[in-house]
Amino acid sequence: MSTTELRIPRDPAFVGLARLVVAQAARLAGVPQDRVEDVKIAVAEALANATGSDRFGDSAAPIELRFGRTSGGFEVVVLGLDHPTSDVNDTEHPGLDLLDPKLSFTLIEGLTDEFSHEPDGDLMRLRFVVGTS
């Protein structure tokens, strides 16, 4: 796998940047355009939990994305994610009406060809693959 790595601050403002970069990498890897849209949503869903957390500020660890073409398709691994909670009453971010955070997983699973997530220390890593044909 020819891997590209991207580290972004744990800040919602950078989710769009990550989407654009990963989407372009998916296009270069030969992912069809309609599936590139799926990749963008999957990236956004993976990052939404992390950037909606209370770990703001310079001391917060960045989120890392690793992506590239593999034999199975276009693979994206996201590290440094918080575990989604079932608490949708986000009093720290009253600007959002939150659905169940696990809905993000439902979307990623519905849009990609392979999806998995696993603990990574105190955090979580997430992986998904989208076919290139």
Binding site: P12, D34, G95, G110
Partner: protein, 110 residues
């Protein structure tokens, strides 16, 4: 990554035109707009999403929140959306059963 919001009145209905990307960064702006509209007494709202370029679950959450708010005033919130990449998200999450979704604004207003 910009989100623009404009609203206007069509008869008894308020049309909210949404253009751009709705994600974790821009969704609060949409939420504020919906809260403002309901606070100002607009309880029958059509959200025109034909110019939405991106929508994820944070956007869905805002729309659900808006629906709850208007329903608490016996109002309605309906959507206009004809883009398959956006409709797919509603289908996967089952929200096509929650929101009336129309192909055109004319259909939504009729």
């Amino acid at each position: 990554m910009e989100l623009t919001l404009e609203h206007r009145t069509e008869g008894d209905t308020t049309v909210l035109d949404v253009a751009g990307e709705v994600d974790v960064y821009t969704a609060p702006k949409l939420r504020e707009k919906l809260v403002e509209l309901v606070s100002d007494g607009h309880y029958d709202i059509v959200v025109d999403m034909t110019k939405v370029e991106f929508l994820d679950s944070t956007g869905l959450g805002v729309l659900v929140g808006g629906l709850k708010r208007v329903r608490s005033h016996n109002g309605s919130l309906e959507l206009v959306c004809n883009q398959e990449r956006i409709l797919k998200i509603f289908r996967i999450t089952g929200l096509t059963k929650v929101f009336p979704i129309h192909d055109t604004l004319e259909e939504a207003l009729s």
